[in-house]
Structure formats: C-alpha cells, structure tokens
C-alpha cells in the first residue's frame, strides 16, 4: 500500500522539478550559439582554464612582437637606404678620383665635390627614424656625427698647423702647403690624421654614438642588431677619406704630395665602401631573420588561436540541436504539468 | 362481601399498575443518566380463601426489582477522568459525610476546592494511595481507602539512580598520551570523543555530566566523567574539581566490552547513578552514541492523569514522565440486583445483596475500567413504552372492574327506595 503511494505534491511537481534546470541549460545553450564559446568557460575547462589563459597571453605577446618587429623592419630599411645613399654619392667621387685629376680646375671641382660629399655623409649619418637616430647605437637621442665645420674642422686645422707649421687657416697658406713633402704627408696621414679617427679622439671630436647597435627582440628566443653604429670602421674610413679630400687644401699641394693624398684616400674610401657593403649584408641577415621570425610567429599565432578555440569553442550545430531538444522537453513539461493538474478524481466522482 | 372485594381488588390492581407506571416514568426520565440502572415492577397475586362455590377476589402485590447487574452501553467522551466499568463491579465513592457507597456512575471531574475526583452527583471517588508502594487494601472492607486527589500529586522530583549508555568507540582512533588523559584534569587534556548527559540531583536540579572517552592503549579506553558546571569556559579543561568517576574499559578482539559492564557516577548533590555500559563496542567506525538514557526527573507539575484499565491512576508530569499515584478498586457484592439504589445513582448494601468484597479491576472476576467513557443507563425506551402501554391497558381494565363493581353496588342501593 505504502510503496505504491505517490503524494500529490511530488506528482504535481514531478514535471516541474527538471524545468528550472532545463531553462538554465537553454539560456546557456542560446548564449553559446551566439558567442560560439562555452557559456561558462571556467566551469567546463576546470583545471585546464589556466592553459587558455596562458595561450591568450602567448597570443598577446606574439602580437606585440609582430607589431614591434614592424618598427625594427622599418628601421633596417631606412638604414639600408641611408647606406645606399652614402655609397652612391661616394661612388661618384671615387670615379672622379680614380682618374687622378691634375688640372687646377679639376682639382677644385674634386675638392668641392668632396666637401659636399662630406656634408651629405654627415647629414645622412644623422638620419633619424622618429626619435631614433639610425646610426647612434643605443645613444639614439643625439645625432651621432658632429657637423664638420663645428668641431672636426678645428681639430684638423690645429693638427695641420702643428705638423707642418702652416699659418691659419692652413688651407690658404699656399706656400706652406706647397712645401709639404710626400714623406711628411705620409707620416701625417699615418699618425696625427689616423689618430683623429681612432678612439678616443673619434668619440670626443666626431661621434657621440654608442658602440652598441640597437637590439630588438624579434621572437621569444631571438635578439638581433637592427642598426649600425656610427662608430663602425666604415663610417670612420669614409669620414677619413672625405675629410682628407675636402679640407687638406689639395689645390695648393705639390703634385707628388697630392698624389699621396689621392692614393691613400682612394684606398681608405675603398675599405670604407667595402665595410658598408658588409654592414648592409649584416642588416640584410637581420632583416631575413626578422621576416622568418614574423612568419613563424604568425603561424604560431594561428596555431595558438586554434588551440584557444579547441579549448573554448563549442560546436554550434550540436548546440542548436541541444536547444531544439530542450525546447521540446520544456514544452512537454509545460503541457504535462497542465495535464497533471487537471487530473483529479473529483472530476469523476 | 364479594362486591366490596371486587372494588378492593381492582383498586389494588390499579395501585400496582400505577407503581409500574412510576418505575417506567423513572426509567424514561433517567434513560440518559449515566450509571442509572433500570427499575422494574413485578407482580404477585394475593388470593383470599375461596370455597368451591364462592370466589373472593384477592389483590395484587407489586414488588420492585432493579436490573443493577445489567451492563449499560458505553458512550465515549473526551475526558480521561470519565470512567466506566466494563463488567462486574462498582466504584467506591464517599458522600460528603464520609459514608461509603457503590456506584457505576463514573462521570468524575476534579473538584476545584479539594482536588478530589467527584462525580456529577457529588460523590468522591475512593482509591488506594500507591505512591509509596503497593496498595494496602482489605478484601472485605473499605479500609485504607482515600479520596483520589489529583492536586496532591503535584511537584514531584526524583533523583537519577540508573541509566544506560551505549556507544561505539572508534577502534582506529589515535592513542592519547597518559599525561593528557582527561582523568589527569590537565589543561592539555585530550580525548577521542565526548558526550554529555543530563541527570538529576536530589532536588531535581539538572546536572550535566561530561563523559570523555579516550583511547589509552590498543583496545583499552578510559572513561572520565566531570560535572560540566566545573568546566573552564572555552577550553573545558581543567575542571575546578576532579573527575566524578573514572573507569578503564577493555575490549576483546571482536570489539565487545570485557571489563565491568557498569559504571557508578556519584552525582553532586544526588545519588550514585549506576550506568549500564555493557553494550559499548569498539569497532572500526566513527564514534556513534546509540543509547543515552538516565532516569529521574525535574520537579514539574501534573498536566494530566491517566487511568489504566487496571485502575492505576498515573500522574503525567510536564516533562512527560509518569508516576503511579493511586489505584482505583472495584467493589462487588454477591447479589448486585439486591442493592439498594439511592439518590445520585449510588447503591448501598443490603442484607439481601450481601457484603462487599473489594478487589482490583481486571482481577478476580471484576470488570475492567474504561477511561474516557461513561456507562449509559441500561433503560431501553422501546421496552419501557411497550410496558407502559401494557400497564395502561391493565389499569383501564382495573378501572372498568371498579366501575362495574360500583355500578353493581349502585343497583344494589337502588333496591331500597
């Protein structure tokens, strides 16, 4: 008797007991279809939630690396252009020089050419990408090379005067210049003049750049140099050659002495240009690594995105089916409730 | 001569019928009176000496009989002090002067002034006081009977003396170091399990006993009992006075108690409580108290009385405890129908009825008491009415005889003009 009894309360509430839960599930499923993600990710993933949090951070850090790589890339490209520019202007000077001009006119033109090339060289070396001076190394705030007229020239003048006993300004002491022997000039070039382009004179007179080039973290594991410091040998050699041609007063030198200057300048210039090419090749390698890293990181980003989706995403088709099923169940539950409530012995008694 | 005789006879007949009608009247009037016993009139003829040729009418003599022995139907009420006797026997009641009578009318209620149980007619129910032990009655008299006074049962307290405590002690519990056993009453005391139980001292005050069980070695436990009132607030230990009782319990391999099965706890201000702990076990499960009962009760007022079918009156106290206070006896006589009914549905013994014997309900052939019921009158209206019609016819017949006799006398008188 007792076992077969069902209380009116549990009979009437039976279809309703699951209703709240079903409605809750319906709401969750609807949300899941709309967002494509689990309604309560933490609850579903439980101890794997930390993994998706980590993956999202990984994606964030990949994104920021890709972004900052574009900055590094533009810096490399601009450095390339600048070096190319310098190479171009010096190339033409070199061509003129190779012909070993000896007429007064030709020499005056060459000197002026060298003067212009020096100015252009300094200004190109002082190129800035935004706030960063490309060739300043880590000391990127300051232009790396001093303007020739506002520093190096005075040092050169003083050195010429001291070595050869010239009057000031030394370039206009025609007699004194003409009296310089090739041997003296060679000696000057090897010692006093060379010292001006070596440390410590170079960094006090010419350059305020830092030796360390700019470094960029291009991938989680790679750091590459993305600039050339003005303290490199290329800059020094080119500056050396251009200064000699521009400001030794070559018009007034004895032809033999001038030949020494020309020869030495030509070889220095060649060395400088070669080094420039090496520097550009180095940057090229950096750029290649950067591109490779970018590609790799974009791939990694896709994979990370897929993994996040694997963790968090839901199958909308499956969810839609679940919603349909739930709707049917809920409707059935409603109609059952209504039916059961109508079911009473009193309607028959 | 015989004419006059005729008149006398018919008058006696009418008298007899009117007596009968009187009993019927009484019966009908009391047909709803609890404990009323039907009266009936029986006739016997009184004949004159007659010769072969002459008949002298005699007269009829009526005698009254009572159907006292006849059980009335029980009607149920909601008062527990309404009593009925199912079977033989009478309640013993006293009238206000202290005279004992018998009755079947059990509509007793508590009298406000005296606290006694008094029935509708004002008679006090008598019984034996058994609060101090068994009833000291006599078989053939009313000795030692006292009024059943419900108010006298008030405020009763009893000190605890016995109890049962059964629990399982967890066999896998950790062993408590000897220096930390509760019996040491050290501040660092540790224990495996604790229970507390309410007992009552002599004045009925509640004393809460803290019972500590501590495993002191494998299969060996120590039980220590303290008065909770002595506990240090917050930490319990140390108590301000030593343990009331300490006992070592040992268990066999099956977890059954092998040491003494009782524990005696002197309750402060009360009696020694002997607690039966023989059913304690030590098994590999949690500490589980199974039984914890101690007798005794706090002082409390009587909320109700319960009267059993054997006549024992139990006072029911506020706290649900019961105490037997009185026992209601039943009295019987050899010939109940010969008892003399008196006003108030009481009966007194007569020579014919024989002397009373007093016994207890359900014993020695006496009936049982039914609480919450009244014995209705055993009058049956239908019978009474039919009797009445018969009596009426009979009376009319007698009056016709008288009328005829009278007319005959008239005729006789008219002979002489």
């Amino acid at each position: 008797m007792r076992t077969s009894l069902i209380s009116t309360m549990s009979l009437n509430s039976a279809p309703r007991t699951g209703l709240a839960e079903m409605q809750e599930r319906l709401a969750a499923a609807t949300k899941e279809v709309a967002t494509g993600r689990h309604a309560d990710t933490g609850l579903v993933l439980a101890d794997r939630t930390g993994r998706t949090v980590s993956l999202r951070q990984e994606m964030g850090s990949l994104d920021s690396m890709i972004t900052s790589n574009s900055v590094a890339r533009s810096r490399i490209e601009k450095t390339h252009l600048a070096l190319e520019d310098i190479g171009g202007s010096i190339q033409s000077l070199q061509n003129n020089l190779t012909g070993l001009p000896d007429s007064t006119q030709e020499i005056a033109i060459l000197r002026r050419q060298a003067n212009d090339a020096l100015d252009k060289f300094v200004s190109t070396m002082n190129t800035a990408d935004g706030r960063v001076h490309l060739f300043a190394g880590t000391n990127s705030e300051t232009p790396p090379l001093a303007e020739y007229d506002s520093g190096p020239k005075a040092a050169l003048d003083a050195a010429l005067i001291a070595k050869f006993g010239l009057t000031s300004p030394p370039q206009e002491d025609t007699a004194g210049l003409a009296a310089i022997t090739p041997a003296d000039m060679s000696d000057f070039l090897d010692n006093e003049f060379a010292a001006m382009f070596s440390d410590p004179d170079w960094t006090s007179v010419w350059s305020s750049a830092a030796d360390e080039p700019l470094q960029s973290r291009i991938s989680p594991t790679e750091t590459v140099a993305t600039s050339i410091s003005a303290n490199g040998t290329a800059t020094r050699d080119l500056a050396k050659a251009l200064t000699a041609l521009a400001d030794f007063g070559i018009d007034h030198l004895a032809p033999e002495t001038r030949a020494v200057v020309f020869h030495r300048s030509l070889s220095t210039m060649n060395a400088g240009l070669t080094q420039t090419v090496t520097d550009r090749a180095m940057l090229g390698v950096s750029q290649q690594r950067l591109d490779a890293a970018d590609t790799r990181m974009r791939n990694a980003r896709d994979i990370v995105e897929q993994r996040i989706a694997a963790f968090e995403a839901v199958n909308p088709v499956e969810k839609k089916a679940e919603i349909d099923q739930l709707s049917v169940q809920i409707e059935m539950s409603y109609s059952l409730t209504a039916k059961l409530l109508r079911l009473s012995i009193m309607n028959y008694a | 001569m015989s004419l006059y005789g005729l008149l006398r006879t018919s008058v006696s007949g009418m008298n007899a019928q009117s007596t009968k009608l009187s009993t019927i009247g009484d019966n009908v009037a009391n047909s709803d009176t609890a404990g009323y016993k039907r009266a009936s009139t029986e006739f016997s003829s009184l004949l004159m000496a007659n010769s072969k040729t002459n008949y002298n009418s005699g007269s009829v003599v009526s005698s009254i009989r009572y159907a006292i022995n006849e059980q009335g139907a029980l009607s149920y009420t909601t008062s527990s002090t309404d009593l009925a006797v199912q079977g033989d026997g009478f309640f013993v009641v006293n009238d206000p002067t202290g005279m004992p009578f018998l009755t079947r009318a059990g509509s007793f209620t508590r009298d406000g002034n005296t606290g006694n149980l008094v029935n509708a007619a004002g008679f006090t129910l008598m019984g034996y006081d058994i609060s101090e032990g068994d009833a000291q009655g006599t078989l053939n008299g009313y000795a030692n009977l006292v009024p059943i006074d419900i108010s006298a049962m008030n405020m009763q307290a009893s000190a605890s003396t016995t109890g049962i405590f059964t629990a399982n002690l967890p066999s896998d519990a950790g062993i408590v170091a000897a220096a930390d056993l509760p019996s040491t009453n050290a501040a660092t005391a540790d224990y495996t399990a604790k229970s507390s139980i309410v007992v009552y001292d002599d004045l009925g005050s509640e004393v809460v006993l803290d019972i500590y069980f501590s495993k002191s070695a494998d299969s060996t436990w120590e039980a220590a009992v303290y008065d909770q009132a002595d506990a240090t607030p917050g930490s319990s230990f140390p108590y301000s006075s030593a343990a009331l009782a300490t006992q070592t319990m040992t268990f066999d391999a099956n977890g059954n108690l092998t040491s003494a099965g009782t524990m005696t706890i002197p309750v402060p201000g009360g009696q020694n409580v002997t607690v039966d702990i023989s059913k304690m076990t030590q098994l590999a499960t949690d500490y589980t108290p199974l039984t914890a009962t101690v007798d005794g009760s706090a002082p409390s007022t009587v909320t109700d009385v319960e009267i059993g079918e054997n006549g024992i009156v139990q006072a029911i106290y506020e706290n649900g405890s019961k105490a037997a206070a009185y026992r209601i006896p039943l009295a019987d006589v050899p010939s109940p129908d010969k008892l003399q009914p008196m006003a108030g549905n009481i009966f007194s013994t007569t020579l014919e009825s024989g002397d009373v014997t007093v016994g207890f309900p359900t014993e020695s052939g006496l009936g049982s008491l039914v609480s919450g019921a009244l014995e209705q009158s055993n009058v049956d209206l239908a019978t009474e009415f039919t009797e009445m019609i018969v009596a009426q016819r009979s009376y009319t017949g007698n009056s016709k005889v008288f009328q005829t006799g009278n007319e005959l006398l008239d005729t006789l008188m008219n002979l002489k003009r």
Partner: protein, 486 residues
C-alpha cells in the same frame, strides 16, 4: 434495550467518522506543505460493538527521513562551499575578458617587450607602468575579495551558529511538548511534524544524527561526529567571530558542548552542513588562494628586483613592484603582500616619477643599469622580460608547482580555482539531486495524495450516511411506538 444500543452504536460511528473526516480534511489542507505528514485516524471496535477512535497517527519513514536529513546537510555544505568558491573565481573571470592576474601579468609582459624594443619611447614606458598599475589593482582587488569572502564566511558562521542556537531552543520546547503530549496520549502528530521541520532546518546548518530514546518520542541529537547537540536540554553552540581576519590568520573554531568541531584543532570535526562548507571556504580554500596571490605578488617583486651592478654585495631592492616600507626583496611567502603591492612611485609619472628609470635603474646609485645613459638602452628591459618568463621558487603551501615561471604560476592559480569551482559545482549539483530524490521519496512515503484522501472521504461519507440513516430509522421506530401511546 437493543434499539438504544443500536442508537449508541450509530452515534459512536458518527463521532468516529467525523474525526476521520476532520483528519482527512487536515490532510487535504497539508497536501502542499512539504513538512506535513499524512495523518491516519485508526478506528477500533469496542467490546460492545461500537466503533471508537483509538489514536491519530502519522505516516513516517525513519530511514527515508534520516536520508533526507543527511542529504540536506550535504547539500547546504556543498552549496555554501560553492558560493564561496564562486566568489573567489570571480577574481579570475572569463578567460576572454582577460581580467585575471595571470592575464594582467601577460599584458605587462607584452608591454615590457614592446618597451624593450623601443626603449627610447616614453609612451611605451608609460604602457608598461599602466599595465603594472592595472596588475597591482587587480591583485589588490583580488586580495581584498579573498579577505571579504573570508570575513563574510566568518560572519555567516556566526549567523549560522545563532540560527542553530535558536533552532535548538525551539527544538527543546517542541521536544518537551511532544514528550509531555505522548505521555498524556494527546494528538501530537502536528507537534511531531513541527519538530521534524525544525530538525530539517537544523540539518541545514549541521550534520546530525537522531536517536529516539524510545520513551515518549524523546529525541536526542548528536552531530554527525558524535558530539551531544541536544539531550533533554539544548547544548550550547559557541562561536566568536573574528574582529579582523588578516591573511594567513585562521578563524575561530565553533564549539558544541565545549568540544571544538571545526578547524584544524577540532577533536570531533563535523562532516557536513553549512558550517562545514563555510569553515572550509574560510580556513582552507580562501586561505590557499590568498597564499597564491601573496606568492604572485612576491614573484612580481622578485622578478623586477634590482641588483647591485657594481658587485659590491648590496642587497637586492624592489624595482617596478614594491610595497610600503620595503627594505629588501622578501625571500619567503609574505602574508598580505598582495594587498599592499604597488607600483614604485619612482616610475609612475602620475606620482611624480619617470618611466625611463625602469630602463635605467630605479633605485639609482649602485643599482644603475644604464651607465652609458643611452636612450635606447634595452639590456635591462630585455633582462626584465626574461626575468618575468624565468622560473622562480614558490611556497609549497600554495598547492601549485613550487618551481615555475610567474606566468605559469598565475595560470596555475586560475586552473586551481576553476577546477575547485567545477568540482564544487558538480558535488553541489549531485547533492541537490540526491536531496530532491530523498525529499521525493519521503514525500511519497509520508505525503498526502489528494485523490486517495478524496476516495477515503467518499467512503467516510457513505459510512456517515449509513449511520445517519440508522438513526433516522430508529427515530421512526420510536415515532411509531410513541404514536401508539395516545
């Protein structure tokens, strides 16, 4: 005489039937009350053949009721635990919203990387400081949430204990009434229903075992750990809420009848009920989470600490992340660190600092990294990026991997709390389902079926009608009889 007897019998039958109908009426009225149990009026035949109502009983099922009580305790315990854990898990949020400390650490790491690649640009430096402030705010807020959860749990325990004492007091009254009522044989079914309702309320707070002392339906209550909760009198349940609950500080224990029943020092620890759930939240889950946050804070201070660059042996000093009156970098778990963690004012422009100091060395002096003063000095910043990703040692009491990177540790904390939440949700769902099954079974065993009551009433109606008819027949008979008497 037989007519009168017949009348009497009919009358008693009517009386009994009326009471039965009244009982059935009560049943109908109580059909929708979950605490109501079906009342049964049993009738017997007396010696003279009339019917008499002997007693009113009620449908009970001790086994089902005990199961229901146990399920109630388990459910409230699991629910209280779930509620606490859910509030803690809110500090983590949906992974997509990136509101967790772990996500903020990731954001800081990204900002730091960008700054390392563009160290000359103070805008990127500002981004780092903003991300760091965001992180400290998140950590502070999470730590505050943990403290609040613990404080609330403590207050809830106090409220639960108050409720328990109140319920026990009422249970005492009700038990006395039942005991007294059983003694006098009154109808105590309604009282017992009420007492049972109190029992189920008590079982919400605490797991109980109920022992019937057999006489007068006197009940004795024990906790599920065996501590006497009620025996003739209610025992005192005592608890002192903590006025302040700082990190690492365990709350007070609840004592019942002088026995501590919660906390690590409980000699007879409770096993279920709201009190258990709340205590677990207060003393275990929240405390572990607090420890994790403190370790995260310590990890941050350590990862950004600045070392003596001159090899002069000066102690490390906090860098980007610091705390009030810091004199060094703490080497072990430090309570409350997550509450007071802050961004070093020296790098926060909003507090008069300069972001570039992050690149150059915040503490100055021997702690200067950028000795050359270059604006694009990135060594220190790259070092910080690596330091943030590098392995650190964490306290083993956090329940997480003791050696891992800060990022992994923070992610591990997310996993830990979400795993707890998932587990707690599952067990709460499970216990709730069990409770609903137990309640349904109990309702079926002791509840009212209206149809059945209606059928009973029809039956009673017939019985009543038959008795009434009998009375009217007897009345007719008497009328006939009286008609004869003229």
């Amino acid at each position: 005489m037989s007519l009168s007897v017949a009348l009497n019998t009919a009358r008693s039958s009517i009386q009994a039937t009326s009471t039965q109908i009244a009982t059935s009426g009560k049943n109908v009225a109580g059909a929708d009350d979950p605490t109501y149990s079906r009342k049964i009026a049993s009738k017997t035949t007396t010696a003279d053949g009339s019917a008499r109502l002997v007693s009113i009983g009620r449908a009970t099922d001790v086994a089902l009721y005990t199961r229901m009580l146990g399920a109630t305790s388990a459910t409230t315990g699991a629910t209280a635990r779930l509620e606490g854990i859910e509030r803690l898990a809110e500090t983590v949020g949906d992974p997509e919203l990136e509101t967790s400390p772990a996500a903020k650490i990731g954001a800081l790491s990204s900002a730091l990387l960008e700054y390392a690649n563009t160290p000359d640009d103070p805008l990127f430096g500002q981004n780092v400081v903003t991300a760091a402030s965001d992180l400290t705010r998140t950590m502070n807020a999470a730590a505050e949430t943990v403290l609040t959860v613990r404080k609330d749990a403590d207050a809830d325990i106090a409220a639960s204990v108050d409720r328990l004492n109140g319920l026990l007091g009422r249970f005492e009254e009700m038990n006395q009434a039942v005991v007294a009522g059983s003694g006098t044989g009154r109808d105590i079914t309604q009282l017992m229903d009420q007492r049972d309702a109190l029992l189920s309320q008590i079982s919400e707070e605490i797991g109980i075992s109920v022992v019937n002392r057999g006489q007068n339906n006197d009940l004795v209550l024990y906790t599920d750990s065996g501590v006497t909760l009620f025996e003739t009198r209610a025992r005192v349940v005592a608890f002192t809420p903590a006025s302040i609950l700082t990190a690492g500080m365990t709350g007070n224990a609840v004592t019942i009848d002088g026995v501590p029943v919660t906390g690590s020092n409980a000699s007879m620890p409770l096993q279920s009920g709201r009190l258990v759930g709340l205590t677990e939240v207060r003393d275990e889950v929240a405390m572990t989470y607090q420890r994790q946050l403190d370790e995260m804070a310590r990890g941050l201070v350590t990862a950004f600490a600045e070392a003596d660059q001159t090899a002069g042996g000066a102690p490390d000093l906090p860098g980007l992340f610091t705390f009030p009156s810091a004199t060094g970098v703490p080497g072990v778990v430090t309570a409350n660190l997550s509450v007071v963690l802050q961004v070093n004012p020296a790098v926060d422009p909003a507090q008069g600092g300069a972001v570039a100091r992050l690149r150059d060395g915040i503490n100055g002096g021997v702690y200067t990294y950028n000795t050359g003063g270059g604006a694009s000095f990135s060594v220190r910043l790259r070092g910080l990026v690596d330091g943030l990703a590098g392995n650190q040692s964490f306290d083993a009491g956090t329940g997480l991997s003791p050696v891992s990177s800060l990022q992994e540790f923070a992610a591990g904390s997310v996993s830990w709390i979400e795993a707890l939440r998932a587990g707690a949700t599952r067990s709460a769902d499970y216990e709730t389902a069990l409770l609903s099954r137990a309640s349904e079974a109990l309702s079926n065993a002791t509840g009212v079926n209206l149809d059945e009551e209606y059928a009973i009433q029809l039956q009673l109606e017939q019985s009543f009608g038959a008795s009434s008819r009998l009375i009217s027949v007897i009345d007719d008979l008497f009328k006939t009889l009286l008609g004869i008497v003229r």
